[in-house]
């Protein structure tokens, strides 16, 4: 064995088994292109050895294959048109002896039934793939909808924060404290208020409203309570409310919070939980 060939021993085996890939395949092809008698001899001998081994599998093929092969070879030189070829073939089958006709018919049936079965199976596979794609698209649409909702929410939150920042930067904005009253003395509230831009109320330690009830914020101006929005609180008693500017109201004297029916009312009817000192 030559020194130049030796490193390629294992590659020869991989090549004969058609199992080389990537760099190995390139290295072997380059080496072989340079001409290596030992490689060529090994390739030939390995193929002989595998052919002998493959004899263990010997099995008689279906008779129709021989018939179809010889038919194909017999017709090939004539170079008839495809239609002529098919007609000629059909005619020859029709003219054949009874047994041959049965064999041919069963061959046709077996061959095309198998192909049809295969096509049907492929079509079923494609249908399944399509259904999966449709499902995936609808899933993506759903995700997109969810993301759009989240985006809308985030935009609203960002807008609220921007408004809050703008409010805080305005010299006319004031911070008003609301104290807890008898039903809940420990409750607290703060409202950032700007007559032109509106404001933001935050409340803490309020009891969660009973079913069918809600907290309502009132802005008392000129001695008259004006409804300024509805809100509820979480399990910890915290809640907040963005308050729109009140048309025609330059100065709010008192902010107050009462417990009211869920749809809200135009004048306070329930117990007052929070109230600011008179400005």
């Amino acid at each position: 064995m030559s020194a130049a060939h030796e490193p390629f021993d294992e590659l020869v085996a991989g090549h004969v088994l058609d199992a080389l890939e990537g760099e190995d395949a390139r290295r072997f092809a380059a080496h072989r292109a340079g001409g290596c008698a030992e490689c060529e001899r090994a390739i030939g001998e390995y193929h002989e050895a595998l052919a002998r081994a493959a004899a263990a599998f010997r099995e008689a093929p279906p008779a129709r294959v021989r018939h179809a092969l010889l038919q194909r070879v017999g017709e090939a030189p004539a170079r008839r048109s495809r239609a002529g070829l098919a007609l000629g073939w059909v005619a020859s089958v029709a003219l054949a002896a009874g047994i041959a006709a049965v064999v041919s018919a069963s061959w046709v049936r077996a061959r095309y039934e198998a192909r049809l079965d295969q096509l049907a199976s492929e079509a079923a596979g494609l249908r399944a793939a399509l259904a999966e794609q449709v499902h995936a698209v609808s899933d993506l649409r759903r995700q997109l909808d969810e993301q759009e909702k989240t985006l809308t929410l985030v935009r609203a939150q960002a807008a609220a924060q921007e408004r809050t920042l703008a409010l805080l930067g305005d010299p006319e904005t004031r911070l008003v404290s609301l104290a807890g009253l008898e039903p809940r003395p420990q409750a607290q509230g703060r409202i950032i208020w700007n007559a032109r831009a509106g404001g933001l109320l935050v409340a803490a330690d309020l009891p969660p409203p009973p079913a069918g009830k809600v907290y309502e914020l009132w802005a008392i101006a000129g001695g008259k309570p004006l409804p300024a929005g509805l809100f509820t609180v979480d399990a910890e008693g915290k809640g907040s409310l963005a308050v729109a500017p009140l048309a025609g109201v330059a100065t709010v004297e008192v902010f107050a919070v009462t417990l009211e029916p869920a749809e809200g009312v135009q004048s306070p009817t329930g117990a007052m939980y929070l109230a600011s000192k008179k400005a």
Binding site: Y46, E48, R64, A129
Partner: protein, 182 residues
């Protein structure tokens, strides 16, 4: 190295269809058995078999007995076309949603014919039976299932170098045995 079919191949090269028929009768069982082991499906194997012999008929003029026996000429061509089909079926199955694994693909055949798996095991045992099991396994996965060395390495959980060595040792051993018989 000269096989009984050399004269038939010469006649085939001259366009002798009777020679093709005789050559087919002599070598088709060898090619078909190999294709059946590779493709499992009789219809697929039969279809590829016809293509193989059609190609051999057309390539008869290129056959050089100094380069190999008719048996090797037939099996190399059959195995090559078989691998093309195996890989194409595998690609098709990979593209579909639920590819059939090798094992799953074997199940219907076993259900249709309960003896099929037993028979198959016996057949594979006969193939390369002269080799140690680990060499036989590496060669069979490449030769019959078209797996590359790195695929076999991943499949068996073995280092790539071990797979390469097993293939080489197995083929050298087979070659040595063939040489001692001739």
């Amino acid at each position: 190295m000269v096989g009984p079919g050399v004269d038939l191949i010469r006649r085939m090269a001259g366009g002798d269809r009777e020679a093709l028929a005789a050559f087919y009768d002599l070598y088709a069982p060898l090619a078909f058995g190999l294709l059946r082991r590779m493709l499992r499906d009789v219809e697929e194997a039969a279809e590829v078999l016809q293509e193989v012999f059609w190609e051999l008929w057309r390539a008869a003029g290129e056959y050089d007995p100094r380069r190999g026996s008719p048996e090797a000429w037939v099996t190399v061509r059959a195995r090559s076309r078989g691998i093309d089909r195996v890989r194409s079926v595998r690609r098709r199955e990979e593209m579909l949603v639920a590819p059939l694994s090798e094992t799953a693909a074997a199940v219907p055949e076993a259900m249709a014919n309960p003896g099929a798996l037993v028979e198959e095991r016996e057949m594979v045992r006969g193939f390369l039976r002269e080799l140690p099991a680990e060499q036989r396994e590496a060669i069979a996965l490449a030769y019959l299932q078209g797996m590359t060395q790195s695929q076999i390495s991943a499949h068996l959980g073995l280092p790539l170098g071990t797979v390469k060595t097993r293939m080489r040792l197995g083929l050298e051993r087979l070659r040595g045995m063939a040489g001692s018989r001739t």
